[in-house]
Symmetry: C2
Subunit: 526 residues, 2 copies
C-alpha cells in the first residue's frame, strides 16, 4: 500500500440523513450508493441498521457495489453486558454489510456523565465489541467520538481508547471532531501526537463544519499522517454539515498529489455526481460550491473577463474540465459590453464587437434586470432575447390571451377538492388555435393548454417536461403585492437542461413567461 | 496597540457586488454600511469610485460612520504616467473616503504578460501611487494581488512589491489569494516568511473560497502574524465567495482569544446582521452557516437530543447566545417522540411525556411529512397542528369555498394586461361572509379577499403582511403535475416573524394553506 494512498469513506446516507429537510427514501439511498460506487469511493456507509425502517430496508435490499465496500454504522456494546447480548450491536453485525463502523466514547467526561460508566469499562466496551465484531464481519473500524475534545481533556485516556480498538483488530480508528469546534492547528498538532503513537495508515479523520473549517481540518489531519478521510457529498449533515468530500477530492488529488481509488477520468464525473445528489433530494444546487458550483469558474467583472480569456491559467486555480465543470461568463448589470460579447460567443453567435446592435442588447438586458429579470442562471432566456434582438428570430407561436380558473369546493361528503382550468388562444403559423385544458393547478393547466395548441405543429415537444419550478419574491417586505420571479428548468429526452425566467406581480403571468420561453427555446434548439 | 488586536476589513460592498445574482442599490449599500458600522468592523470598503454609477452615488451620499472608517478601492496608477495624470486613481482619491485600498500586481507573470510592463516599473507604480495617495487621504493600504502564486513563482519580486508599498507609507500591505487556490499550510508557511521580513502588524490577509479553505487560510495567516483580516458578510463574493467574516469573528474572539473592535455585546448582534444582509439582498439564509445558521445549533437525532439537554457543553462548541443565535430542536421523521416533546416544550406546551396524545401527534407529523409537508423551518404550522391536536384549539375561521380567476388579455392598444380576482366564502363565529377582491396575482387576490372577510372580526390583522413566499416542486422530474410546497414567512408590527407551509399539486391551494395558517397563527398568538 502506497504511503500516498488516501481512503475515502462517505457517510452521506447516514450523516446526510440528519440534515434538516432531508429524508431519503430507500430508492434515494440505493441510487446515491451506486453514484458513490461509480465515482470511486472506497467505503459507502449505508446507514444504521435498527435505527429506522428506511435503513433496514436499504440493507435488506443489499445493493451490489462493484468498487466500494458497504459499511454499517452503529455503537459499541452498552455497559454491563456482553457484545452478543447487545441487541443493537447484533443488529448491526447482522446487516449483511462486510464492513462495520462502530462509534464509542473517548472523552472521559462523556463516559462518566453521559454514559454513567467508568473509564475502565469504556475501554473494555471498545475492545470486546471490536474483537467480537471481527468474528462476524470482514472489516471493523472504530469512530472515536469527540476525540479532539477528549484528547484536550485527558490525552492518555483518549489514546488508550484508540489503542484498545486497534489492538482488538480494528482496521481503522477514526478521529472524530464530533461537535465541529476544533481548529486546523489543533487538529494537526493533536493528530501528529497520535500518529507518533499509532500508525498513521490506520487512522482516519471525521470533521464537521461548525466553524467553517471541516475541509481544512481534514487536510490538516492528512498532512499529520491519517490515511482515511470521512465526509459527505455536498457537505450534507446536521447543524453545519460534515466535511465536504466534493471539495476535498480535487484538492487531495490535483493539488496535494495524493492517490485515491478515483482515476483522473473518475474525477471528471465529480460535478455530475454532486448535482445528481442535489436533484435526488430536491435541494437547490449551491452555485458557489468549490470546484463544482455553477459559478466556481464564473467571471462577472468586465475588465476581469478580458484578462481571463487571454490566459485562463493566470486566474483559475485548476482547470474546470478536470472536475467536470466549465468556465462561465455571467451577464449582469455591471459588466456591460464585454460580458455580453463573451456570452454571445458562448452561445455560438458570431458578431462584430463594434456592432451597434450590441449596445441595444446591453441596454435591453439592463432594463429587464432593473425590473427584476436575471439572466444569471437563466441563459436560455438570454439566448432567446439575444437572437430575437440580433437575428430577428421569430417566435414560434404568439399568445393572444389566456384565462385560468382555479376553484376549491367541497364534495358532497364534505372533503375539499380543487380544480384548475385554462383556456388559451394561440396563433401558430398564422392560424388561431383555441384550447382548453384542466390541470391539478393553474400552471399545469396552462402548460397543458399550450401543448394542446402546439403539438400538432411541433410534435418534437412531446419529450419536453419541466423539472424544477422556483418562485421568489423580489423586494423585501412588499407582501403579496411584490414582484415575483419564476425560474423554470426544463429537459427533453436528450438529458439536456435549460432554464428560463419570468417576472410579474402575478405568479401565473410570471410562470407563463418562463413556460413560454422554455417551449420557444426547445423549438429553437430542436 | 496590543499584539493581540485584529483589524477587520469588510469588502461586502465591493467584492459582494460581484456575487452572481447580487445587485446592490445605493440604499442597500448605505444600509449595509450602517450595519457593519454598528457591529464594530474597523474598515468598510464602500466600492470602486468611477467603476459604476451605484458606487459613485454611494460615495457621494457620504454616509456617516461612527466607528468604522470608510474605504475606497481602486488600482495603482497604470504604466507610463504619473499618479496625478491617472484619471482612475484621481477618481478614487477624490471620493471623500479617508482610506484608500489600492490593488497592484505582485506576480511577475501578470506584470509582464497581462500588464505588458516591467518588474521595475511595477515597483515604481506601487511606490509612487502610495506616496501620492498619502498626500490626499488619511490612510493608504496596498492589496497585493495573486500574492501567494506570485511568491511561489518569484518570492523576491513579490516581497519587494510589499516592501515598496510599506516603505512608501502604506499602513497595511494585504496578501491576497486572488484565485483562491492556496491551501492553509502554504498560506501559513509563506506568510511566516513574509512576516520575518516585514512587521506582521502591518500585514493583512484576503482569501477566496475556491477550495473551501478561505476561513482556514485567514486563520493560518493570523497565526503567522498578520493583523488585518479582509472578508465579506456571509461569504459573499464572485465564484465561490470571499472569506466569511461571520464565520471568522466568533472563532477569532471566542476561541483564539484575539481582540477586535467588537465587544462581547457587539458579537451578540452577529446573527442579526448576517440575516439583515440576506434579507436586504433577498437571498435565502444559509440555514447551515457556521455560528449563525438557523441549524447551527439544531439537533435532529432522537437519542442525541436527550444527551444535549442534559449538558449542552458536551455537545455544543460555543454557546449559541454568544453570537445571537439559539438552540433549536428539529421535528422530523427520524426522531419520533423525544424530538416532538422537546419542540412542544420550546413552544411552551407543557405535557406529560407519557401522554398518549403525543403518539397521535407524532403519527400525524409523520403522515404529513410523508406527503410532503415539512415542519423544519415552518414551526408556526407545527404549533398550530400541535395545539389543534392537543389543546383542541379551534380555528378562528373556516373556509367554505374559493374561486380564483386569472386572465391575461390585450388592451385596445395591444399591450398585455393581467387581472386576478378571488371570490371566497368564509365562516367567522358562525356567520358566513362572502367576499370578492382583485389582486395583481391570484395569491394576492386570495389574501385580500380573506382579509376583507376577517378584518371586521379581527382588526389586529391590519399590521400583518407577508415577507417571503417560496415555492418548490417536490419529487424530481414530475413536471407541472408534481407536488408543490409553499412556505410563507409573515410579520406584523412587532418585528416578530413566523413561517407556515402548504402542500398540494395546485400552487394556489398550497399557497392558500400556508396563507391560512399564517393568519390563524397571528390570531392565535395575537
Amino acid at each position: 500500500m502506497s504511503a500516498n494512498r488516501i481512503y475515502l469513506y462517505d457517510s452521506t446516507l447516514r450523516d446526510g440523513q440528519q440534515t434538516q429537510g432531508v429524508d431519503f427514501t430507500v430508492g434515494d439511498k440505493i441510487a446515491i450508493a451506486h453514484e458513490l460506487d461509480g465515482l470511486g469511493i472506497d467505503y459507502v456507509e449505508g446507514g444504521w441498521p435498527g435505527a429506522n425502517p428506511t435503513d433496514d430496508a436499504f440493507f435488506a435490499a443489499a445493493p451490489t457495489l462493484l468498487r466500494a465496500r458497504l459499511s454499517a454504522f452503529g455503537m459499541t456494546r452498552r455497559p454491563g453486558r456482553r457484545p452478543e447480548d447487545d441487541a443493537g450491536l447484533m443488529r448491526i453485525l447482522g446487516s449483511g454489510a462486510p464492513v462495520v463502523c462502530m462509534v464509542g466514547k473517548t472523552w472521559d467526561f462523556h463516559v462518566e456523565v453521559a454514559l454513567r460508566s467508568t473509564l475502565a469499562e469504556n475501554l473494555e466496551m471498545i475492545a470486546d465489541s471490536v474483537t467480537f465484531a471481527r468474528t462476524r464481519v470482514a472489516e471493523v473500524m472504530f469512530d472515536a467520538e469527540h476525540f479532539f475534545d477528549g484528547y484536550k481533556a485527558n490525552p492518555d485516556f483518549a489514546l488508550r481508547c484508540i489503542e484498545a480498538a486497534l489492538n482488538a483488530g480494528a482496521r481503522w480508528a477514526v478521529l472524530c471532531d464530533t461537535n465541529g469546534g476544533s481548529l486546523p492547528h489543533e487538529v494537526e498538532a493533536i493528530t501528529r501526537e497520535v500518529a507518533a503513537r499509532v500508525p498513521g495508515e490506520r487512522l482516519g479523520i471525521h470533521c464537521h463544519d461548525d466553524t467553517g473549517n471541516a475541509v481544512a481540518n481534514s487536510l490538516a489531519a492528512v498532512r499529520a499522517g491519517v490515511r482515511q478521510v470521512q465526509g459527505t457529498l455536498n457537505g450534507l449533515g446536521e447543524r453545519c454539515g460534515n466535511a465536504n468530500l466534493v471539495s476535498l477530492l480535487p484538492t487531495l488529488m490535483l493539488k496535494m498529489g495524493y492517490e485515491t481509488a478515483l482515476s483522473r477520468e473518475d474525477l471528471r464525473h465529480l460535478t455530475h455526481v454532486s448535482r445528481v445528489v442535489d436533484e435526488r433530494l430536491n435541494r437547490a444546487h449551491n452555485r458557489h460550491a468549490p470546484y463544482v458550483g455553477e459559478n466556481a469558474f464564473a467571471h462577472k467583472g468586465g475588465l476581469h473577463v478580458s484578462a481571463v480569456e487571454k490566459d485562463a491559467r493566470s486566474y483559475e486555480h485548476v482547470q474546470p474540465e478536470d472536475v467536470g465543470n466549465a468556465r462561465k461568463i455571467l451577464v449582469s448589470d455591471q459588466a456591460g459590453r464585454s460580458n455580453v460579447l463573451s456570452l454571445l460567443k458562448e452561445v455560438g453567435m458570431t458578431i462584430e464587437a463594434s456592432d451597434p446592435r450590441i449596445d441595444r442588447l446591453v441596454r435591453l438586458v439592463k432594463e429587464r434586470e432593473f425590473i427584476g429579470y436575471t439572466y444569471d442562471g437563466a441563459e436560455a432566456s438570454f439566448e432567446l432575447l439575444a437572437r430575437r434582438e440580433l437575428e430577428n428570430l421569430t417566435p414560434p407561436f404568439e399568445l393572444v390571451s389566456y384565462r385560468v380558473m382555479d376553484e376549491r369546493r367541497m364534495t358532497e361528503t364534505g372533503a375539499p377538492f380543487t380544480l384548475a382550468e385554462a383556456t388559451m388562444k394561440v396563433r401558430v403559423d398564422g392560424e388561431l388555435h383555441m384550447t382548453v385544458a384542466e390541470g391539478n393547478g393553474p400552471v399545469n393547466a396552462l402548460d397543458r393548454a399550450l401543448r394542446k395548441a402546439l403539438l400538432v405543429a411541433y410534435p418534437v415537444l412531446v419529450d419536453m417536461h419541466l423539472v424544477d419550478y422556483k418562485v421568489r419574491i423580489l423586494g423585501a417586505g412588499a407582501g403579496t403585492d411584490a414582484l415575483i420571479r419564476v425560474m423554470i428548468e426544463s429537459t427533453d429526452g436528450s438529458g439536456r437542461r435549460w432554464t428560463t425566467v419570468g417576472v410579474s406581480s402575478n405568479v401565473i403571468e410570471a410562470s407563463w413567461q418562463a413556460l413560454s420561453d422554455a417551449v420557444a427555446y426547445k423549438l429553437y434548439a430542436a
